[in-house]
Symmetry: C2
Subunit: 461 residues, 2 copies
């Protein structure tokens, strides 16, 4: 009885596996990625041999040459560099010093697109604002001749949402302070570590506005300045900050493909960004993303069967300075049949949740992917609202579906945009888990004939 009853169950299981189209292969590829992949080798090479690679500079050009050479060496097809020009900003001297009886240096760095002080610096009194709302409430002209000092209460979070919420301080405070007469703005770094390495990052100016010097203090220095202000006497600073714009320079995106076996014109995009801030060597931001996605594609390339659709690895340029590579990419490639796009750009922490934004009809495929990812410790974010990494935003705005393995960013903002963003911060095991995630997800989408769109076009709300 038992043996007879068991037979149909086994048969059913076998049929189930076949009907499940690609799941078994995806699991096999996933496990192969955990076993061996080239991600560490790639991120070690990029961060060591190229190092810092600020957008628009010769170092970013060196990174493009590196990217194209690696893609070719790994066997990718149609390797190319798609160039564009961009206004380029470079760092100068930077120094802050408390004047008077409590004289001491403070660790400061210029924000991207900061204006400059004269070479000899400026001396001015500090006015503290605990948040952007307080700064906005300051009367017009009330900051004339002063340095605005703006702090915030950013916290450590797994999903990085605190950065999005409090990040307005970096993005907007300098511009607001300038409209009220400030001669400079210093912010508390957008970070979560207590090391004296300030966090840089871009700040924005209104059209036609003249940038004022805008810098970030490390968290210990920001606390120190707050303690000095609490003494109740005016605190004056000397600030030297001499970054400059060096006009339009060339930047570019690097692309390589695994051409699909049945639907070569249908493209699944995965990638990271090649530029980094100049302070560190861009290991977690975003050497890791470059390495994870390239290594994942390579694992698929080395599998038994090419996928139905084309997998395209994109190494975007000039992300840090305003998604310039992403904008150029979307503009130049809007005619392509892009099935879906994913970017890894949140460090190298383990993926803990799988999110996406797809059409209703693609939900079963998403559930299949989630099932293959589950053994990696990844849960399923069914909200269907995740627009993915920064460089796929221009594509998402055009209506391209997005895939979004969500990384654990609990320590991401300890390192983000600081000199501490170096190779040693990457855990090779977590890196491998990321590669395995991208392998399974990318294979399943690329080997499927399910349409992931349409999704609504338009910018994120």
């Amino acid at each position: 009885m038992r043996r007879i009853a068991a037979l149909p169950l086994i048969a059913l299981a076998l049929i189930g596996a076949k009907a499940d189209d690609g799941t078994a292969t995806a699991a096999k590829l996933r496990d192969a990625a955990l076993e061996k992949n080239v991600a560490w080798e790639l991120v070690e090479s990029l961060t060591t041999e190229v190092g810092p690679r600020l957008a628009g500079t010769p170092k970013e050009a060196q990174a493009r040459a590196w990217g194209a050479a690696k893609l070719k060496a790994l066997g990718f097809q149609n390797v190319r560099i798609e160039t564009y020009d961009m206004p380029t900003w470079v760092r100068g001297e930077e120094e802050a010093w408390v004047l008077g009886e409590h004289s001491q240096p403070l660790a400061v760095t210029a924000l991207g697109r900061s204006g400059a002080t004269p070479a000899a610096g400026i001396e001015a009194e500090i006015v503290h604002f605990a948040n952007v709302e307080a700064l906005e409430a300051a009367p017009a002209g009330s900051l004339t001749g002063k340095i605005a000092f703006v702090t915030h209460a950013m916290a450590r979070t797994q999903d990085g949402s605190s950065y999005g919420y409090f990040g307005v301080v970096r993005r907007s405070a300098p511009s607001i302070a300038a409209t009220k007469g400030a001669v400079a703005t210093l912010i508390r770094s957008m970070g979560t570590d207590m090391h004296r390495n300030p966090h840089t990052g871009g700040t924005n100016w209104a059209a036609g506005q003249t940038p004022i010097p805008a810098g970030a203090l490390s968290l210990p220095d920001s606390d120190q300045l707050e303690r000095l202000l609490k003494r109740g006497k005016p605190v004056r600073l000397k600030l030297v900050m001499t970054p400059r714009f060096i006009g339009n320079q060339q930047s570019g995106n690097v692309v390589g493909e695994i051409v699909g076996r049945e639907a070569p014109d249908e493209v699944v995009i995965i990638g990271g960004h090649l530029d980094s801030w100049d302070l560190g060597t861009g290991a977690i931001d975003d050497g890791a993303g470059i390495a994870i996605t390239t290594a994942a594609a390579k694992v698929i390339m080395d599998g038994k069967q090419r996928p139905r659709r084309t997998i395209r690895v994109v190494m975007w340029g000039a992300e840090e300075v305003g998604l310039l590579g992403a904008a150029a990419y979307a503009k130049a490639n809007s005619g392509d049949k892009i099935v879906a796009a994913a970017e890894s750009d949140f460090g190298a922490g383990k993926v803990w949740k799988f999110g996406y934004r797809v059409a209703e009809g693609a939900k079963p495929l998403m559930a299949t992917i989630a099932k293959v990812l589950a053994p990696l410790g990844i849960s399923h974010d069914t909200a269907n609202t995740n627009r993915g990494g920064p460089d796929v935003q221009p594509l998402a705005t055009l209506g391209v579906p997005t895939l979004a393995p969500e990384q654990d960013g609990s320590d991401y903002f300890d390192l983000h945009h600081t000199p501490d963003d170096t190779l040693d911060k990457i855990d090779p095991k977590a890196l491998d888990q990321n590669v395995a995630t991208y392998v399974a997800m990318t294979w399943l989408v690329a080997n499927s004939d399910v349409q992931l769109g349409p999704v609504a076009a338009g910018p994120a709300r």
Copy 2:
């Protein structure tokens, strides 16, 4: 029966407490210290209002004025500053840059007493040595025109012994490299953290030797340089390092006392050092020691009874640059009847072991102290060989007994001599445990008539 039998036990306990001379008071003072003391207030004030205080500079003079004012305000007697002159070294510009195809900056800082490059810097090839033995084995003249790069395998330890063992790299490698023709020396920082804040610290030259530029790379930068060298091609660096000696300057030790009620000429010394390296604000090195020992004496001062003997708080100057304050102190005060001396100079981690070096006859008193410290989580180091902190070495060499609460230094070398040595690194609870330790130990010795000496004079082997 029960009640009758109990009476003699209680009586015995009371007699025991009386015979135990001071134990009960010590325990009460210990617990009072845990409840409330001024250590945090002191270290907050010193690190915020004075900040970095390099020996021989106006900032160290400001720290002396701070120390004397605090001791007076707290009610100490005989507050005084004992001055001496010292050769003074100050930091200049410092920058290291990999030249050629892998061009990138490296985080570097000059070691104390480093020589200088020309203002425009030098360019030279790197030669790597994995330890001082390998450097010593290099043939005479083999480093002519080269930069020696010396690394080591220092590890994280609770007692800090790895620093003592591997520290020869910082203390001696530059001098050895100079004898073989090196134009500069770079070492892997003597530290255990992976942040891009190099660790400074003094290096030594042979008598008459001309100092060459000597710097430390942060650990991530040291690893990066090793990775670049592993590529197999020569690596050339540009190095700018312009520290200078500014001649003899005034330094000094700050002293305050609680004069003993019965034996005022018998002195128990506790203290820390007032100077710090210039990169951080000297919170764990050694604002904490200043705060712990001053706060401990203040708790005793505020107790019901003054101790038999005098308690003297000493804030030594110029420790970092070669125990100059300690040497001047021992010379100027060698006529005093110094019962014992203790320095807190290993951060603000919890005390985990109580050590000392005393005469045989004082061992019972040491056991009594250990018993009062045990509830604080402190074990008893009975080796009787602990010569205490750096600034009591000249006293120990004269034959002064030493007391040594041993702090947990597991993370001390993450911060030691770096810009990261700031207030936020101190755990207020651990600080309080230190104060309680010093309170109990100091009270018991100062209120005793037990002689702690004689111990052997002479330097540590």
